[in-house]
């Protein structure tokens, strides 16, 4: 964390935020590939009703477990539903959970971490102990345990994934707050009598955002994976609504029928998670150079 020798700062035109974003997303060739894949999936999710060849829920007894053909590019599943259409609609679920949960977790985690780091004392001890305890559990295990209590459904899944991610954000936010709190501008604000909420919102939070945002982008991929895992276990998106996880779950039930639902949905998850991981790495390396490889 500590910078030993500071480079002399050369005043010059600062690159605009858009230029920075472009360098992050299109800088390395692998980041470029990942950005294109991510963009493609976002577009597919957005225009799903117009590009899906069939309704994802319409069943057909006449076309059960069909292999790929010109009519059904990825074949049909055990209820005769078009696999490609279910994959296209499933992308909506994955991306929604992938974006909403990390943002919510970042909000609540930062709140907890900043409060613990800023006030210290007994508040810090209680929050830190709880965070340490939750961090000891792998995210998937924690999510399964909470889902066992809450059950499925859209907001329950959001809650489950959010709670699983909160401790990570809280730990980072706490550590950063402890560092920023020592800075002269915070001490100056305190001695000038600025109210505590104002100090936290105006002086602390903006200065700890970089690692939080980096973590948030990295965890989009984890959230997508987690939703897929929960749906696969029957604890996430409930049938008949399509999600990449429950498409694989259904596929396993008709293993002797057609392997295509499994192959298609799994390839989609892997590709999207891989791409979000690469984008997340690029964002982290740009925002938080201390952890760069």
């Amino acid at each position: 964390m500590s910078v030993v020798a500071q480079e002399p700062v050369t005043p010059g035109p600062q690159p605009g935020p858009l230029t920075t974003l472009r360098t992050i997303l299109f800088g390395r060739p692998e980041a470029k590939f990942a950005t294109v894949v991510v963009a493609l999936f976002i577009i597919i999710a957005a225009i799903a009703p117009w590009i899906a060849p069939y309704d994802p829920l319409t069943q057909s007894i006449l076309a059960i477990n069909k292999p790929p053909s010109t009519e059904h590019w990825l074949g049909t599943d055990l209820y005769g539903r078009d696999v490609l259409s279910r994959l296209i609609y499933g992308s909506r679920n994955s991306l929604l959970f992938g974006f909403i949960s990390p943002v919510l977790a970042a909000f609540f985690g930062t709140l907890l971490g900043v409060v613990a780091g800023y006030f210290g004392g007994i508040i810090d001890r209680v929050i830190s102990r709880l965070v340490d305890l939750l961090l000891a559990f792998p995210e998937l295990l924690l999510a399964i345990l909470i889902a066992a209590a809450l059950g499925g459904g859209f907001w329950n899944i959001i809650t489950v994934i959010t709670i699983a991610f909160v401790p990570g954000f809280a730990r980072v936010a706490r550590a950063q707050t402890l560092a920023v709190k020592q800075d002269p501008f915070v001490e100056a604000a305190i001695s000038m009598g600025v109210r505590t909420p104002v100090i936290i919102v105006r002086h602390i939070v903006p200065n700890i955002m970089a690692p939080i945002v980096a973590l948030m982008t990295l965890w989009v991929a984890s959230a997508i994976r987690l939703e897929a895992s929960l749906s696969f276990l029957g604890l996430g998106t409930q049938p008949p609504n399509p999600s990449w996880g429950n498409i694989i779950r259904d596929g396993l039930q008709s293993l002797f029928g057609s392997p295509w639902p499994i192959i298609g949905a799994g390839a989609a998850i892997t590709l999207v998670v891989l791409s979000f991981n690469l984008v997340g790495d690029a964002v982290r390396d740009a925002l938080d150079p201390s952890t760069a490889r």
Partner: protein
């Protein structure tokens, strides 16, 4: 060393207590009446009363809590509502399968992952390094249940090299035959993680002065890599090993489901589907104890690997 062990052991007691309390609270904040949830809306008040009596739900919450704590200490976790079997017996029956799977996956993952990391680090930015990087990128992204399903389709269904489901008969060879595909699935993910971790840790150590000194005094390359390099990179690798054991454990839930294999993960998932609360509670408890114990073992391993780490 003994004092160390003792302090760490004492330290796990409040943690375990906190975990137990969280499990209890989580099972009680369920929306709705558990009796109604299990028996359905059509159950008569008499049936509901009988269920509450059986499950110990007819006493005040604080007494339920004390009963739960006492039951945990005396290994009496109640009976499964679905099968009527004692939860402790269900756990005892399933636990060996999960431990077998996790241990085999750990061994496989380590003997593949760590050497891969060494190869990547010693061939930095060359073809082997890129290959290992690609492998770990895929390993980080592929969901374990998807990989499990692919292996099942290719090696179970089409090539018929391995059985499709189950845990195997109680003889060593058949058990081994059944554990291969599930273990390879989890080991793949683990090897990807360990490979990347070993590479990073080794490269960091290779930048140290004592590596240059070792080279300068004419130590063979193998001695530099293994004696001076890998040995000093062991601490982060051991941490990673501990972390990924936990990840393997949670991965075992999905893998057990894919291969229709007995185990604690499947016991828990089946119980959730049937709303069999005492079994859910027991399954959650087993995983929580695993987490606490593995963290404890990790802490103790640090002291063994690096004597500089001591209890503060």
């Amino acid at each position: 060393m003994l004092r160390n062990l003792f302090v760490r052991l004492i330290d796990t007691i409040p943690t375990l207590f906190l975990v137990l309390t969280l499990v209890f609270v989580a099972m009680r904040i369920l929306p709705g009446d558990p009796a109604v949830a299990v028996l359905g809306d059509t159950a008569t008040p008499e049936q509901l009363a009988v269920y509450r009596e059986q499950m110990g739900l007819n006493v005040p919450v604080w007494q339920q809590y004390l009963d739960f704590l006492w039951g945990t200490v005396t290994l009496d976790l109640g009976r499964s509502y679905a099968t009527g079997m004692p939860v402790t017996e269900l756990i005892a029956r399933n636990l060996p399968y999960t431990i077998e799977l996790t241990v085999v996956a750990m061994i496989l993952g380590s003997i593949v992952g760590i050497p891969l990391g060494v190869i990547a680090a010693t061939h930095r930015n060359k073809a082997p390094d890129s290959g290992v990087r690609l492998f770990s990128l895929i390993g980080y992204a592929i969901p374990d249940f998807y990989l499990a399903a692919l292996l099942l389709i290719v090696f179970g269904l089409n090539l018929k090299w391995f059985p499709l489901s189950g845990g195997g008969d109680p003889n060593f060879l058949d058990q081994l035959h059944h554990v291969v595909l599930p273990a390879v699935t989890l080991a793949f993910v683990k090897a990807a993680f360990l490979g990347r971790l070993t590479r990073t840790s080794l490269l960091e150590v290779f930048g140290k002065d004592y590596i240059r000194t070792a080279r300068a005094k004419g130590a063979t390359e193998n001695r530099v890599i293994y004696r001076h390099g890998l040995r000093n990179a062991m601490l982060p690798i051991a941490t990673g090993l501990g972390l990924s054991t936990l990840a393997t454990l949670s991965g075992s839930v999905a893998v057990e489901l894919v291969f229709n294999r007995p185990g604690i993960g499947r016991l828990l998932i089946d119980a959730i589907a049937q709303r069999d609360y005492s079994v859910i509670q027991g399954g959650v408890l087993v995983f929580a104890i695993f987490v606490v114990v593995i963290n404890l073992v990790m802490d103790l391993l640090y002291v063994l690997i690096d004597p500089r780490v001591r209890v503060q």
